[in-house]
């Protein structure tokens, strides 16, 4: 199946030649947060060995970039998969308000008892967003911890249930 990417102010990707005119709409947000990696089931030495400087007791922080992709067919009247303003509101309410300028270990309820790795955070984000996206469906969530590192969850069985 051929793929063509078109841009109209935000990234969209349309499959051509197949049965579908599914469109993938992506919105990006940024948030700043701190964290540390520490597993209480391991000894201090093991924590240090496994997590290295990420185990420093006072924590450290990142500028996270989150890309959220929603799949759907554009509404014939509005031409939209979903209203970007609504997606922005959902992302602010579910993610920014919870995680921006927060210490992820201590202040994000959904991460309690988990090590806030990029992998675990993106899984929490998927679970928070999936039920809130009611127009189209959540297709992919990608979280960058730095410019060079990201973790992602995808629909179609590749992501968590």
């Amino acid at each position: 199946m051929e793929r063509a990417c078109v841009s109209s102010g935000y990234p969209r990707c349309i499959e051509i030649g197949g049965q579908t005119s599914m469109v993938y709409l992506t919105r990006k947000i940024e948030f700043s947060a701190s964290h540390l990696y520490h597993n209480p089931a391991l000894s201090a030495e093991e924590n240090r060995r496994v997590f290295g400087k990420c185990n420093n007791p006072h924590g450290h922080g990142h500028n996270y970039t989150l890309e959220v992709t929603v799949a759907g067919e554009p509404d014939p009247v509005t031409g939209m998969v979903l209203d970007l303003k609504e997606l922005k509101t959902i992302l602010e309410r579910e993610i920014s308000d919870r995680m921006d300028h927060r210490f992820l270990n201590y202040e994000v309820e959904e991460l309690k008892g988990q090590i806030p790795t990029c992998e675990n955070i993106v899984r929490v984000i998927w679970k928070l967003l999936a039920p809130k996206i009611t127009q189209g469906r959540l297709h992919k969530v990608r979280l960058y911890e730095s410019a060079d590192i990201f973790a992602e969850c995808c629909a179609n069985g590749a992501g968590p249930a």
Binding site: E30, A33, H60, G61, H62, N63, R102, F103, S146
Partner: protein, 142 residues
Amino acid sequence: MVFGRRYRFAASHRLHSEKLSEEENQRIYGKCNNPYGHGHNYVVEVRVSGPVDEGTGMIVNLADLDKFVEREVIEAFDHKSLNEDVEAFRATVPTTENLCKEIYERLKGFPLAKLERVRIEETSNNTFEYAGEEIPDCGSVQ
């Protein structure tokens, strides 16, 4: 001639001044005053100047600058809490303005070229620069 190189470190901070009341701290620093702190991927651009050495064709060997910045800045700040782990910020609020000055002070003794300027990107939207007491016009090269 000026040579610039970028370095990166990840750290957390909290903006809170002991000289202000709780309410004033909250009003002035907003969510940056949240008690547990938050963090950034800081990008530090270091600019040094000097004559181009005829033998090497370089102002300074970047490996030498790397070693110096690594020792003076990256080791001290990377994966650290600026408030808790950096002596200079025990009594000073670790705004990125103050961080810029602290890094400048740490690097100005580089023996192989003259430190011109330290520029920090706190986020993709916020940048700060410090060039000692006087900031020359942006982009000017002496």
